[in-house]
């Protein structure tokens, strides 16, 4: 597993070690390795979870989930708040003990080999926990010391990571002078100080503005291109579609579905969706007049969704029935629709 990699700001000099997926505007398509499939030598399994469970009192935060992740894959846990994503991440990260089930990270049980497991990982937590009283560069140096790394290694490495995180000119700034996006990038840089082969990212872009999110995604893409295994949780379906080769949809501590974003959309939704808004008073009542159009109908408080293979044609049928929505939109199906189908709820509920 000791694949050396070097971070450079320019994409041209990046090494492509395991680039398994190519992205399209409609979502990711690419190699899909089903969970629990025996790994090949080229992509040894780095994480395996079998019937993983975590309970707090009577509440099962994670309720018997199983999955495995091969090296170099970008693996996502998609689900709403409270689905058990962060608890799963904490168990993988070796900071929370599981209640039952089996879990191995690089062949090690995190409950019995916590320091050894954590030494393999880079972790980007949901909430920033940077040392705000230290300067930007010092945050990296101090964090590297926790891995027993000498200053002769850490100083050039910190400079390299600051360049990667586009924070070189902020090296001597205090952390509290950074914007939210910069803090996230610094947290990612910090997580890379030990050159981890597995990076855990818990809601990496929550709370960031669109530009900051795109910058962050770009940095994560580069890591992925270098063969770093990315494990990320998110409740943003566009983020999951952009970054994940494969994901599990989690709700109430259980896996609802598993596959690549494109595969999940194909299996659980139609190609296109027509979104109609008739006004919050009329959305429910008008649904009966839409019956028979498309494959399926979902009535939400603020809009009606018609699932159809040909959205334009479905919209024409709506018009031909004399129905005049306030707004209409034809779009491609997304993971949001998959989640809606699987749970009957929206991701942002």
């Amino acid at each position: 597993m000791e694949v050396p990699f070097h971070l450079t700001a320019g994409s041209t000099s990046l090494r492509r070690v395991h680039n398994k997926a190519t992205m399209s505007s409609g979502g990711a398509t690419g190699a899909v390795q089903p969970a629990n499939e025996p790994s090949t030598d080229a992509h040894p399994t780095v994480i395996t979870a079998e019937n993983l469970t975590k309970t707090y009192g009577d509440v099962a935060a994670v309720d018997g989930i199983s999955f495995s992740v091969p090296a170099g894959e970008s693996f996502g846990l998609l689900g709403p708040n409270g689905a058990g994503k962060s608890t799963t991440m904490k168990m993988i990260g070796g900071v929370t003990r599981r209640t039952s089930g089996a879990l191995h990270i690089m062949g090690l049980d995190p409950d019995s080999h916590g320091p050894e497991v954590r030494a393999h990982l880079g972790v980007v937590p949901q909430q920033d926990n940077l040392d705000e009283e230290l300067r930007v560069r010092d945050n990296l140096l101090v964090y590297g010391r926790y891995f027993g790394l000498p200053m002769s290694y850490l100083k050039p490495k910190a400079d390299e990571l600051l360049e990667f995180a586009q924070l070189t000119d902020k090296a001597k700034s205090k952390v509290d002078a950074l914007s939210g996006g910069m803090k996230r990038r610094l947290t990612i840089a910090r997580s890379l100080i030990n050159e981890p082969r597995i990076l855990l990212l818990d809601e990496p872009t929550t709370g960031l503005d669109p530009q900051a999110r795109h910058i962050l995604w770009d940095r994560l893409f580069r890591l992925k291109e270098q063969g770093v295994t990315l494990i990320l949780t998110t409740h943003y379906m566009d983020e999951a579609e952009q970054l994940c080769d494969r994901l599990i949809v989690v709700d109430k501590g259980r896996i609802m579905a598993e596959g690549s974003p494109a595969q999940l959309i194909r299996e659980h939704s139609t190609r296109e969706v027509v979104e109609l808004r008739f006004g919050s008073e009329r959305n429910t009542t008008i649904a009966s007049e839409l019956q028979g159009i498309g494959e399926r109908l979902e009535v939400l408080p603020d809009r009606v969704l018609i699932y159809a293979h040909d959205g334009e044609s479905a919209l024409e049928q709506v018009a031909s029935r004399g129905l005049r929505p306030l707004t209409s939109l034809v779009r491609r199906s997304s993971l949001e629709d998959v989640f809606l189908r699987l749970t009957g709820r929206s991701l942002v509920d």
């Binding site: 900071v95 050894e116 937590p125 009283e133 230290l134 101090v142 926790y146 891995f147 290694y153």
Partner: protein, 272 residues
């Protein structure tokens, strides 16, 4: 194997993890280094000047029998030294602990690294212990300048003050680590625990000059035990040897109990 291989990192962290975290705490302290220096120098100079030049002039004019035959500033200096250490320990084991767990969650960064919660607690304690030692050494140097430590073992009161700081600070650290919601508990600790202990621990007058009904405040106070022990070293205060041993045992016992509770609390809270 590379210098930064996970195996080496884990092995080093298992061995030296507490020191790594202590380094972090010391770096953060460096950020408010001037404040620490000003406190370490300013506090003893101000107190000793006030006591030695001001109050002592009046008190000593009444005779020194009440203070065991030594001048007032000599009597009060070990108590001030111990009290300063306890107050610093109070500051270092309250707000920064809350910061680590709740406000800025700074403990959770190293918690994701190979360090264990117990090492994080130990590192924090080691850094504060170093601060207490240095601060007490500076304080003792000021006491020497005021000629308020005539005994040959006065330097040992530096260790006594540090121990007293830990004996009060470590149980407090365990309590700080148990707080999940800030309701001003630390202000209450300062006002209703630290200040009464400071005033009624035989600091400015011998404990037995207090009514019997309130002497228990001194008996349970690490400041009193530390002060009495400090006086033995500082100017040869006469007391039964067994009592001297008892003071030391109480201080060590409180520090060990606090250390045990802190470790347990850190592990329980971070492992949730």
């Amino acid at each position: 194997m590379r210098a930064h291989s996970p195996q080496i990192a884990a092995a080093r962290a298992r061995r030296w993890g507490a020191f790594y975290y202590a380094e972090q705490v010391l770096r953060v302290m460096k950020g408010y280094g001037w404040s620490i220096i000003m406190y370490s120098v300013g506090h003893p100079v101000a107190y000793l000047f006030a006591m030695g030049v001001g109050l002592a002039t009046l008190v000593d004019a009444q005779g020194t029998e009440a203070f065991g035959g030594v001048g007032y500033v000599t009597f009060v200096a070990p108590a001030l030294l111990v009290s300063a250490s306890v107050m610093t320990a109070t500051n270092e084991f309250t707000f920064p602990v809350m910061d680590g767990f709740k406000w800025r969650r700074t403990y959770y960064g190293p918690h994701a690294s190979p360090l264990t919660p117990q090492q994080i607690a130990a590192g924090h304690i080691m850094a504060v212990t170093l601060r207490l030692l240095l601060q007490s050494a500076v304080y003792f140097a000021a006491i020497l300048l005021f000629g308020a430590a005539p005994g040959g073992w006065g330097w040992a009161s530096i260790l006594v003050a540090t121990l007293a700081g830990l004996s009060f600070g470590l149980p407090l650290m365990a309590y700080s680590a148990s707080i999940t919601e800030d309701k001003g508990q630390f202000a209450l600790v300062m006002r209703f625990i630290v200040m009464p202990l400071f005033l009624f621990s035989g600091t400015f007058f011998p404990l037995d000059s207090l009514p019997l009904a309130v002497r228990w405040v001194g008996w349970i106070s690490p400041i009193w035990h530390g002060t009495e022990l400090g006086r033995v070293f500082s100017y040869g205060y006469q007391q039964p040897p067994l009592l001297t041993v008892l003071h030391a045992v109480v201080l060590v016992a409180l520090a060990v109990l606090g250390w045990f509770l802190t470790r347990r609390q850190f592990a329980a809270r971070m492992g949730r």
